[in-house]
Symmetry: D2
Subunit: 338 residues, 4 copies
């Protein structure tokens, strides 16, 4: 970390600052220029409060020379990570594309098995479905919970597809024993207590970017899991909150590219939640594939009475099949170059 001290700072106050830093068992290296004084700090800066120093009236700014994420950092692990999912050790990352599909909520045995079979036939490599549902309103349906997980496991037995489902409470972990990938939703991205508990497992964790979280904060949340010893982390871009209201959120596809530069972890994209509109899912899925995403997570429903739902964010199985084909074509073309 370096501190840039203002030109007009009084020497005495700069000296106080240096002493205070050194009192915290850190070494400093001061370089006085004509233009500014730079204080380099050497040692374990993890207890140093950035905001506190930035706010000092004698400080122009603070700059981190090394990123605060270690385990997730590509600098220290230049090779792409490959995450292995389920008993069949399905690979995700480094050219292994994950096509995850399924309904928003698990509703019944018939529903989930029917969707599972049709998305498998269309090329999905994993089945997703919500059992515990984070709902903005306490009065809204909160999911089938344990029963929903049972139904997902039933669908897994029927189709062989590994299953992905969201956790909202570390106390529920025993229910997730046979779940293949545990999802952390956007609202829980900085639920650090939950992340720590997931760090103690060895399950693959799919962690979604929070609606107002930066790319670096997503990496720090991955770091929470990895710091606990669980290196099986898959990142997910699912749209951020902006002023634009034409789509539910704004899908930030440059995040895929930036993440690939900063980390070795695989990055998947959720075009269904990002746009909130079924007819936007296909173009955004193709765009994600084109810019190098390691996978997609797409909502597919299969409920005849819902057949009116041309809209919303869920695709019908035959629409998903069309998306899957297009994504394969685009991926091949995008990779064709290297």
């Amino acid at each position: 970390m370096i501190i840039i001290v203002k030109q007009d700072a009084k020497e005495e106050r700069v000296r106080d600052l240096i002493q205070w830093i050194e009192a915290q068992n850190l070494r400093t290296h001061v370089s006085k220029g004509d233009y500014a004084t730079i204080i380099g700090i050497i040692g374990d800066i993890s207890k140093l409060d950035d905001d506190l120093i930035t706010g000092l009236d004698i400080v122009e700014g603070v700059k981190h020379i090394s990123e605060p994420f270690k385990s997730a950092n590509r600098k220290f692990h230049p090779k792409d990570s490959i995450i292995e999912v389920g008993e069949q050790k399905l690979k995700v990352g480094h050219g292994n594309f994950a096509l995850i599909a399924g309904p928003c909520s698990v509703e019944s045995e018939e529903q989930i098995i029917s969707v599972a079979k049709s998305v498998k036939a269309a090329g999905a490599t994993m089945l997703r479905g919500g059992a515990f549902k984070p709902r903005t309103s306490p009065y809204d349906f909160q999911g089938l919970k344990a029963d929903g997980i049972e139904l997902l496991l039933e669908a897994k037995r029927e189709t062989g597809l590994p299953i992905v489902t969201e956790i909202m409470n570390a106390n529920h972990l025993p229910l997730f024993e046979d779940v293949d990938v545990i999802q952390v939703g956007a609202r829980n991205m900085q639920n650090f207590e939950l992340l720590k508990e997931l760090g103690k497992t060895r399950k693959p964790i799919l962690i979604k970017r929070g609606l107002a979280n930066t790319i670096k904060e997503l990496l720090m949340s991955a770091e929470y899991i990895m710091a606990g010893g669980n290196e099986n982390v898959i990142l997910c871009e699912r749209g951020i909150r902006t002023f634009e209201t034409a789509t539910r959120n704004t899908l930030d596809l440059s995040a895929v590219t930036v993440l690939h530069e900063l980390t070795h972890l695989p990055v998947v994209v959720d075009p269904s939640h990002a746009t909130g509109v079924a007819r936007y899912v296909k173009p955004m899925a193709m765009a994600a594939a084109a810019c190098g995403a390691d996978g997609l997570i797409i909502e597919v429903h299969n409920d005849p009475p819902h057949a009116l739902c041309d809209g919303a964010q869920s695709l019908r199985p035959e629409q998903f099949e069309d998306v899957a084909k297009a994504v394969r074509r685009v991926r091949a073309a995008a990779l064709g170059e290297e």
Copy 2:
């Protein structure tokens, strides 16, 4: 809820939509105009998926006639709520102003007691201090935890000030037995599992608005707590995330006014976290008082070796005293009219 159907929608598809709604035990009331068809829905719409309907290609839009929050809604409770805190039943709301002050983190007995005494002398009505700290990095100091709460209780015994401290995990609730106000941090505003557990207690809960959460979402999170039976909720505006970087967050003071219109719950403002800069705390505290906030939560430190910290977000006790006086003057002037 009403659904506005597009002018050019095929009759058959509109009929399908109506049937699907009615199949969910809801009644509909259709009004065909020259300009649009409106479907009014009567009944318990809590299981109805808004996004799904909005996304239908035949739907122009969906409009909720009644707000989804009930217990927090001023319509059903026109009078301001007064929350009673601690054994002394300190009142917050409806003209009872809460001046909450204390350090970011509890560090030592000496520190917390010294700060407690000085903020009390300056007019603080409650003591705040972090024992469990939500930190973006797993490598950063995470607080003194249970020991921090012990020290806060010690300070309470010394000064009589009720204490406010943050919870991050419902499993820690037993440690909060003697805490007077439990704080839910911005990152946990939509940790619904935590909110549900807090709804089972009868403790006052101070819930902070998430960085990217709307005012309505804050109310829905309050509703989670109240739906469990705990009506002792205090809302807190602490800045939202925008493109502006001159302050850490953008303090949204109009939220105070909007919240007072929508809900009967008290609203306090945290100018320290919102701005991240100590010298901006005073003007923002005065502004919050002027627009009717029911309290302030302000960071104050009292650590001689930190004396260099003119900046950052913490005030020194003598600065806090100056803020407290100014706030009292401004409040009196703002109220002078009614």
Copy 3:
């Protein structure tokens, strides 16, 4: 337009509202339901102030049944527009892909001609270059102005490439006589006086989305040009301002899809300005091609002393060639399906 009146509105006030609307030569159609009263408004609502009505305390909300953009609206022009550029009538839109490349600023004859030749060889269909530069600081280089346009015209004579350059002041229009496409920059997207003047020409106008402007506002700005009689408008997505700082702006690729749904005008994407980083241009260009953009506008420089600039937002000609190839492959794959 329909107005949804609150359930508890007093009849007298609703009557006042209806009278006030009718006093403005509009007809109303009132539909009273159990749930809400809907006032439909028929006639020319262009003078009606939305915000004023929305703000009334008896009004739940206002909903436009028809979009406020007419000439740009796909509803009234279902077929894709094809814009013809330059004497050679180069087509843009409806499957005709525009690959626009060139330096940020025109610097010298040697520079612009060299870049023009190399981007042409790599497959560019138009040459871009800044002559009038909008700079945040009055002290920064403001472009070669008239001389810059001269140099662009020289490059056009040499290579035959139509040229695209930005206008900042309608008084400069005479200088743009031989320019093929006039660009309106993001900062001038709502400079309505400029738009009106451009509406009087018949030149193709490439209008960039403002950093904080919605998709609908971009369409309204296009409408300003078209309302003047100039239907040759090309829209450009170039990133919006969000809290994320890893890229200069956040490229909103879903805007391409949404725009294609709402309008018949071609939509091009500027990955250079959106990301601000040369090494992110290729993946974002491929993503834009995959989701159906009608063209790309990419910064390419060719200045040997600048050879150190691996970074920044400009590509070297050989890098641009690589991007152009990848984009062609991805486009073919994306279209392969229909």
Copy 4:
């Protein structure tokens, strides 16, 4: 300006960078530390492209030691500026509070004179009114234009109140000869060509912050005017665009404080446009006064047939009077301290 070079940058490339900088007539001062290499740049950096350097893969970051605004900078003009308005040399800034009020649009002689008289009686020090109206839609009413200015001048003759009205096109400047304060609207904040022309006049300019513009960009736009020789600039905060939809924009009151720190220019606040709702104007006006704003600009209408408009953003004259009194009380209380 200093450049922080990455630890692992190859020496050769760092040398290239230094040579390139020096080739632009700048001197460098290199300081190699254990932790990073810092290149200080001395000389006129106005032609140096920040983004280009930031984007280099060997560069960790760029930091400006001196702000890019000069004339507006408090460092070089520590005393508050006082702007003198109109023939009566009405003072704004440094304790001289501007209370600007009037209708959104000038509609008729009767209207503007009636509003002018009533706001004057209530304590307004200037009259505002829109003659040229920036409207999102080309089909919406664009104001009375030259006639509107005539009516404002009539109201000025009647009441003696200096007038404030918006300019949208530098070619209209002759019409503004007798206007006392020329307003630049939010959408034109970065219409640099307009700003340059206003810099040639000596009229007070009230410039509003753009919806997506940072505080520093607002200062750079003020700098455009001042660089032309016109130092009579008044800044205006009027809300920024965020994800929150409960208010039209999000009023950023901390901007007032930050601006007072960075610049000597007066800062006024527009609570009417920021919130878009009349009943939020009073609390936000009081908050602005409490945090030190140098004035307010408030919409007031006086049209009996509009009497139904309890809402929207305009106040009735009697409501404005109430706001004016409350603001005076709060200002006195806020200042009572220093």
